[in-house]
Amino acid sequence: MERDEFTLVRDMLRAFATRFRSGSADDVKAQTRTDAQRALDELGLSGLRRTSPPAATVQECALLAEEHGRQPLTTSLLGTALLAPELLRLLDLGERAEPVHGDRPTVALAGDLRFPDRDAVGLVAWDCDGADTALFVHAEGRVTEHELGTPAPTADLLRGVRRASAEGRPVGRLTPGAHQRWQAYALVVVASELVGAARSFVEQSVDYARERHQYGQPIGSFQAVQHQLADATVLVEACTSATRYAAWCLDSETPGRALTAARVAKAEVNSSAVEAVYAGMQVFGGIAQTWEHVAHLYLRRVLVGATTLATTADLLTVLAAPEATR
């Protein structure tokens, strides 16, 4: 995209996010979810990665995912606008067997929200607000389309997750290169949203440290508070850099290298984003322990996010293996 064009898209998303953010867990209701999703769909972002060459780079999509992560939002930007369209685009490059039935698919994951292994069971449709079907990439690259079922339990109060039908219609098969690219892209997009969440939450806690007074002075004047926030900022910068670099790799490098960079990024995010949100919560003190406060919405997002697609243990194990066998 041209720079101006991208800025425009990002500003639109930012304005949307400010308008539809959940101010507290009690704001999360069926009607508000539907309204928010409709408003997001109207921005037309699902076209960004649907064509080849795509209208937006991975780096641009990653920045949009970060932007979306900054606010507590129930909407599916990742599943329906960034991930499923890219999957269909990658399929078009390989063996695309059948057309999909859904108008607006999202993606399906193994029941534990990770990339599936060979005998994955209990599929779930992930990030499925506004979605009508879900596309599932099997361990060996085959892709099937699944019907959505009842809501599935999740600790992330914002994210829509439903059970998906066990049997799926065949859609096609990813080539090995496209499969690597798919995994890398999914890791980067999910990691980016968590980066946005951690960055925004730390910024909010910095603001709070300026406003909140104890012992006649802002709590941010206490070094112990300052240092925690400085450490948290370092963590946020670390996971931001790793994730943006992985996005750049997807635009510029081979799928294998991009996948390695994406795994590094997700592993970094899994620990840094969680640590940063912990630090922010400590600074908010007691108020962050209340149901009304947004802190737990962020905490839930990063905690569940850290186990989504790939856990740190999954990632470190592959990263420790010799490159040829990954």
Partner: protein, 388 residues
């Protein structure tokens, strides 16, 4: 529950602290710098009658327990002597344990009173280039030839070998692949380090330089059968008896270093003024030191529990390992924070904290690494499958 030290234990602490007051920072700085064994310190401890603290009374010692021994070594490290001081006497304090328990009466009469008096220096030879934590893979071999053994092999890291007359030496009398269990076939000797048959070369190292650690090349060393500790083939088991107390002693030494490092940091934090006020007024300085204090205090409690259990004759593997783990960690962290508190001066040898830092680092590795402690707790205490 009773957290009070007994009157005798309190006396030990005070007496040792008093005895060592004259060995100041300059003394230890110079010994460390010159790689010189602290003879004067050693003589003072020996003359005070402290070396035989755990040696049975019938062999000229005091026959006290591990609680007293740990208090002694903690105080020694805490005096500012750190590991230079502790290592100079460590082997005398408890290292003879396998001999006390399993040695022949003749061997004990020949050696223990001299240890207690201080005129016999002994080192401990276990580690080899190919056998660090995995002790049963040692290859130093003792071949029986009539009334003596002939020993050849190579040891590494042997502390104080340079200064020692004798070595408590672990060997194999049967190769690892000839025995049923890898722990079988190992034999322990307490014998002379005959310089004609043994070549000793100090290893240049990062700290604790007043006491050497050495490569020891043993070439056909003749060892009389009388120098064997206990029975042939049982050496590993004899060492195992001493493992828990060894961990506690090391823990005590780490604790002592941590305490003295923290004391120095607090003193500096009060005295040093930057931006018009004492640096200790900053939370960024004060909190890490307060945190170090809390960790040292917690680690000390586990150590006290471990030594109490041992002296009661109760099982103490869990506590001994935990004490080593926590004290080594707390001691090093305190030394690290003390160095940071001193700013640039922390890096200079003018203040002792750099020395404490270098010495405190050692206990995270030797005689048993933090990782091996976790292996112990993971498999023995938690009952998880052994990982190696």
């Amino acid at each position: 529950m009773d957290f009070e030290l007994t009157e005798d234990q309190e006396t030990i602490r005070k007496a040792v602290a008093g005895l060592l007051r004259d060995f100041d920072d300059r003394y230890w700085m110079e010994k460390d710098r010159d790689h010189a064994f602290p003879e004067e310190f050693y003589a003072a401890v020996a003359d005070g009658g402290w070396l035989g603290i755990t040696i049975p009374e019938e062999y000229g010692g005091h026959g006290l327990g591990i609680t007293e021994a740990t208090l002694l070594l903690e105080e020694v490290a805490r005096s500012g002597g750190g590991m230079n001081a502790a290592s100079a006497i460590h082997m005398s304090i408890f290292g003879m344990h396998p001999v006390v328990v399993h040695g022949s009466d003749e061997l004990k009469r020949r050696t223990l009173p001299r240890i207690a008096r201080g005129d016999l220096h002994v080192c401990f030879g276990v580690t080899e280039p190919g056998a660090g934590l995995d002790t049963t893979s040692i290859t130093t071999y003792a071949r029986r030839a009539g009334d003596h053994y002939v020993v050849s092999g190579r040891k590494v890291w042997i502390s104080k070998a340079l200064e020692s007359e004798k070595i408590l030496l672990l060997t194999r009398t049967a190769k690892r692949d000839e025995v049923e269990k890898p722990t079988d076939g190992m034999t322990l000797f307490l014998t002379d380090l005959d310089r004609d048959r043994v070549d000793i070369r100090p290893i240049p190292k990062m700290g604790r330089n007043a006491v050497s650690s050495n490569e020891v090349f043993i070439d056909d060393l003749r060892v009389p059968v009388e120098d064997r500790v206990g029975e042939e083939g049982q050496g590993f088991r004899y060492l195992l008896d001493g493992l828990n107390p060894e961990r506690m002693l090391i823990a005590a030494e780490a604790l002592g270093i941590g305490r003295v490092a923290l004391d120095r940091a607090v003193r500096y934090g009060r005295e040093r003024e930057v931006f018009g006020r004492p640096i200790g007024m900053n939370q960024g300085i004060q909190f890490p030191l307060a945190d170090a204090l809390a960790h040292l205090d917690a680690a000390e409690l586990v150590l006290r529990k471990a030594t109490w259990l041992y002296d009661q004759g109760r099982p103490c593997g869990r506590e001994a390992n935990t004490a080593k783990y926590l004290c080594a960690d707390a001691g090093f962290t305190a030394a690290d924070r003390a160095l940071q508190t001193h700013g640039g001066m922390g890096y200079s040898e003018e203040y002792p904290v750099a020395r404490f830092f270098r010495e405190a680092r050692l206990m995270l590795i030797a005689p048993v690494s933090q990782e091996m402690v976790l292996n112990y707790l993971g498999s023995h205490t938690l009952g998880l499958p052994r990982s190696y």
